[in-house]
C-alpha cells in the first residue's frame, strides 16, 4: 500500500515537472523555408545557429526546399493546406505574385507592430526599392541580392593591346565594340558573351538608361501596365548585338549562365556579362588566366547612368500564425540585418550587404582592398538614387514574360526575325500574359 502511494506520487511529480519545464522554457519555433543549397545553405545554417544561441525565446528552423521554383511551389502548396512556414524565401520575379497573394504580412508592418524601429534609410535603396509597394513601404525583407557586371580576361586584353578597364567608370558600348574588334583581330574566337540575356541586356539596359521596361512605372502603379521594350533604343541595342554576331564580336551561349560561363573559362570569349555572385565560381574554375570585373557598358548619350537593378530573392513573412510567433520572426529578421551577420553573409556568398553600415564597416576594415571585385557591383548599383523607372520591375507572370523575351531574342540570334519584329512580338505576347494576370485580381 505504501509502495503504491509512493509510486503514484512519483508519477504525478514527474508529470508536473515535465509539463512545467515545458511551459516555462519551451522556445517558440519559427520555420523558415529557403532555397539556399550547398555552400550557401551552410552559411544560412550558421546564421540560424548564431541567432538561436543569442537568445532562448525562439528557435529558428531553416529548411531547404530545393531551388527557387521548388521553394515557391512548396510555399504555395503549404499555404493552400494552411501548413505554411513563418518565413518563405521567394525570388525577385515572383514579387508581384507574392505581394498580391493575400497570404503575406508586410515586413514594414511586422517590424512596427513588434516594436522594432528600423532605420530604412540605412538600407541600400536599390535593393529595398525592388520590394517596396508604390507607396514606398517595404513588403518583404531583401535577403540575397546581386547585380550584373562585366567580367573580362585580362591576359587576352593585354595580348590585344587593350588597357585594363576602370572599376568605377563604365565604358561605352561603342568602346566595347572597338575592344571586341581588337580582340577578334588578335585571334580570340569570340568577343563577348552574356548570361541571363533578358536580365542583363534588356531589364538592366533599361534601368541603366532610365528607359521604362513597362508602363505605369514598370508596373509599380497598376496591374494594367504594358511592356515597353520595343522602343527604338532597346531595338537599337539588340540590332547592334546582332550585327556583332556576324563578325564574332558577340557569341550567343544560351539563356542561362552555364554556356556563356564555359565560353569565358575556355577563353573562347574575352568578355562575359553575368551576376556579381559569379565571382566565387570563377575564382574556383579559372586557373590559367587573370580576369577582372568592370561595370556594365553605358551608351554615350547617357551622361548620368542610373543604378543597375538587382536579382536574387527576399524573405516573405506569411500570415496566419500566433501573434507571439511574429515577435520572434521580427527579431530574427532584425538579427539577419545586423552588420555582423551582413558582413558574414557578404563575405561568404558574394551577395550584397543590405545595409550601408555593414558596407561602410567592411570598407573601413579594408575588405575591398583585398577583394576589389566585390565593390564593383555595389558601386554600380548605388551610383545614383533609383528613379521610378530604375527602382525595379513589378510584373505579373514575370517568369513567363522572361521566357517570352528569351524566346524572341533567340529568334533574332538565329536569323528568324529582325530585332524590331522580335521585340514587337515579345511586347504583344507579354501583354496578353499581363492582361490574364490582371483578370485574376480584378475585383468582382
Amino acid at each position: 500500500m505504501k509502495k503504491r502511494t509512493w509510486l503514484g506520487f512519483l508519477a504525478i511529480a514527474s508529470i508536473l515537472i515535465f509539463t512545467a519545464s515545458q511551459v516555462m522554457a519551451a522556445p517558440v519555433t519559427i520555420n523558415w523555408w529557403h532555397a539556399m543549397r550547398s555552400a550557401r545553405g551552410k552559411v544560412c545554417d550558421h546564421m540560424i545557429k548564431k541567432f538561436n544561441e543569442s537568445q532562448s525565446d525562439y528557435v529558428v528552423v531553416g529548411t531547404n526546399k530545393g531551388n527557387y521554383d521548388e521553394t515557391v511551389n512548396a510555399g504555395v502548396a503549404a499555404i493552400r493546406a494552411k501548413k505554411h512556414p513563418h518565413l518563405l524565401q521567394s525570388f525577385e520575379v515572383g514579387t508581384q505574385t507574392m505581394m498580391l497573394s493575400g497570404a503575406i504580412y508586410p515586413v514594414h508592418e511586422l517590424m512596427k507592430d513588434n516594436g522594432f524601429d528600423v532605420n530604412w534609410k540605412d538600407y541600400m535603396q536599390p535593393v529595398l526599392s525592388y520590394y517596396m509597394n508604390a507607396d514606398g513601404n517595404l513588403m518583404s525583407m531583401p535577403f540575397n541580392s546581386s547585380t550584373p557586371v562585366m567580367y573580362y580576361n585580362v591576359d587576352l586584353f593585354k595580348k590585344a593591346g587593350i588597357a585594363e578597364l576602370s572599376k568605377t567608370d563604365p565604358i561605352s558600348w561603342d568602346k566595347l565594340g572597338e575592344i571586341t574588334t581588337k580582340l577578334i583581330a588578335s585571334g580570340v574566337p569570340a568577343g563577348m558573351v552574356t548570361a541571363w540575356q533578358s536580365w542583363t541586356q534588356i531589364e538592366n539596359y533599361c534601368a541603366i538608361h532610365n528607359l521604362p521596361f513597362a508602363t505605369k512605372s514598370n508596373g509599380y502603379e497598376g496591374l494594367d501596365c504594358e511592356l515597353a521594350i520595343n522602343n527604338p533604343k532597346v531595338v537599337n541595342h539588340i540590332t547592334r548585338l546582332k550585327k556583332w554576331m556576324a563578325d564574332k564580336r558577340f557569341l550567343y551561349g544560351g539563356q542561362k549562365y552555364q554556356g556563356p560561363k564555359a565560353e569565358f573559362i575556355a577563353q573562347n570569349a574575352a568578355v562575359y556579362i553575368d551576376s556579381i555572385s559569379g565571382i566565387a565560381k570563377l575564382k574556383k574554375a579559372v586557373k590559367d588566366f587573370k580576369w577582372d570585373v568592370a561595370p556594365l557598358p553605358v551608351e554615350t548619350w547617357m551622361k548620368e547612368p542610373q543604378n543597375t537593378i538587382i536579382g536574387g530573392a527576399s524573405n516573405w513573412v506569411l500570415k496566419g500564425h500566433k501573434k507571439s510567433d511574429y515577435k520572434g520572426v521580427a527579431a530574427f529578421l532584425n538579427f539577419l540585418a545586423t552588420p555582423e551577420m551582413q558582413e558574414y553573409w557578404h563575405k561568404q556568398t558574394g551577395y550584397f550587404p543590405i545595409t550601408i553600415s555593414a558596407y561602410e564597416s567592411l570598407k573601413k576594415k579594408g575588405y575591398y582592398k583585398e577583394q576589389p571585385y566585390q565593390e564593383v557591383g555595389i558601386k554600380q548599383m548605388t551610383r545614383r538614387e533609383p528613379t521610378k523607372i530604375s527602382r525595379g520591375l513589378r510584373l505579373g507572370y514575370f517568369i513567363q514574360i522572361r521566357n517570352i523575351i528569351n524566346e524572341e531574342l533567340e529568334l533574332v540570334w538565329n536569323d528568324t526575325k529582325t530585332p524590331q519584329e522580335a521585340l514587337d512580338n515579345a511586347v504583344k505576347r507579354s501583354n496578353v500574359k499581363l492582361r490574364e494576370f490582371e483578370k485574376i485580381y480584378k475585383k468582382k
Partner: protein, 296 residues
C-alpha cells in the same frame, strides 16, 4: 465450353475490387477531376482568388499561335522519336537474333541503356553534341566543316533531343522484338529459305507480319513515351529552346504551371494533352490494329 466461376455472395466481388477502385479513384480520377475543374477557372497560385471562366483558358490556348506550334512540334518530335527508336530496335533485334555466338551477352549489353534515366541520357548526348564542348560536334566541325549549333538553331536542337530520347528507347524496343522473334516458328523461315526467299524477303514476308502484335504494342508505348517521359531529356538539354523550337506540350505544361504559376492555362493544357493521347491511342487501336495479325 467455357467454364465460368460465379460468386455466390453478391457483395464479395465488389468488396474484392474495392481496394483497386479506391487507389484508382484517389490517384487518378480525383486529380483528373481537379485538373478539369481548374482548367475552367483562372486563379492565383494560392487559391484565394478564383474566377470561373468557362472555356476561356481553352479558347486562349487555341488562339495562341505558339501553342499550336507546340502541338506541331510535339507531333513531329514523337513521330520521329518513335520511328528512330523502333527502326533501330528492330534492326538490332534482327541482327542479334542471327548472332550465333555470345547471343546472351549481346542481348544483355543491349538492354543496358534502358536503365539510364532520360535526364542522364540527355546530359550524355549534350556532352557529345554541344557546340562548345561536345566531342562529336567538334570532330564533325573539324573534319567535315559541318555547321552544327543546337544552342542556336532550332532544327539542330530538335535532332539532338530526338537522338537522346530515341537512344534510350531502342533497348526497350529491342527486348520486345527479340522476344517476339523467338516466338516465330523456325520452320516457317526455313521453309521460305528452301523456296529460295532472300533474307530481306523472309524478313518482310514472314517476320514482320508475325511480329505485328509486338510492333503495334511497341508503337503505342513509344508514342506515349515520346509524349510524356521525354520531359527529362528536354529539361536537361534544351529547356524548350532555342526560340521554343523544342517546347513540346508536356514541357510547356511544366513551364506555365510549375514555373510560371499560371494554373488555369496549365490545367487546360493538361486536359488537351490527355485528350490528344486518348485520341491517338483510340485511332491506333481502330485503324492500325486491324492490320495486326495475332497468332492463334
Amino acid at each position: 465450353m467455357i467454364k465460368r466461376s460465379v460468386f455466390t455472395n453478391r457483395k464479395l466481388p465488389y468488396l474484392l475490387i474495392l481496394p483497386q477502385i479506391l487507389v484508382t479513384a484517389t490517384f487518378f480520377y480525383w486529380p483528373a477531376a481537379q485538373g478539369l475543374f481548374q482548367s475552367l477557372m483562372i486563379s492565383d497560385p494560392f487559391g484565394l482568388y478564383n474566377t470561373f471562366v468557362w472555356f476561356d483558358n481553352f479558347i486562349a490556348l487555341f488562339k495562341d499561335p505558339l501553342y499550336l506550334k507546340s502541338v506541331a512540334i510535339t507531333l513531329t518530335f514523337s513521330a520521329c522519336t518513335a520511328f528512330v527508336s523502333i527502326s533501330m530496335g528492330l534492326f538490332i533485334a534482327t541482327m542479334a537474333n542471327r548472332a550465333l555466338r555470345f547471343k546472351a551477352l549481346i542481348r544483355t549489353m543491349l538492354i543496358w541503356p534502358y536503365a539510364v534515366a532520360p535526364a542522364i541520357s540527355g546530359i550524355l548526348w549534350l556532352f557529345l553534341l554541344h557546340p562548345s564542348y561536345g566531342v562529336v560536334s567538334i570532330a564533325f566541325k573539324r573534319w567535315f566543316g559541318l555547321e552544327w549549333n543546337p544552342v542556336l538553331v532550332g532544327r539542330d536542337a530538335m535532332i539532338m533531343v530526338i537522338l537522346a530520347s530515341a537512344w534510350k528507347q531502342v533497348s526497350y524496343n529491342f527486348v520486345f522484338f527479340v522476344a517476339g522473334m523467338q516466338a516465330i516458328p523456325h520452320s516457317l523461315i526455313e521453309a521460305a529459305s528452301m523456296d529460295g526467299a532472300s533474307p530481306f524477303r523472309r524478313f518482310w514476308a514472314i517476320t514482320v507480319p508475325l511480329l505485328s502484335p509486338t510492333l503495334f504494342f511497341v508503337t503505342v508505348m513509344n508514342i506515349i513515351y515520346a509524349f510524356f517521359e521525354t520531359f527529362g531529356v528536354i529539361h536537361t538539354v534544351t529547356q524548350g529552346g532555342p526560340g521554343g523550337a523544342t517546347n513540346v506540350l508536356v514541357y510547356k505544361v511544366y513551364q506555365d504551371g510549375f514555373i510560371g504559376l499560371n494554373l488555369g492555362s496549365s490545367a487546360a493544357q493538361s486536359i488537351v494533352l490527355m485528350s490528344l493521347i486518348i485520341l491517338i491511342t483510340v485511332l491506333q487501336f481502330k485503324y492500325v490494329e486491324r492490320k495486326v495479325q495475332y497468332t492463334g
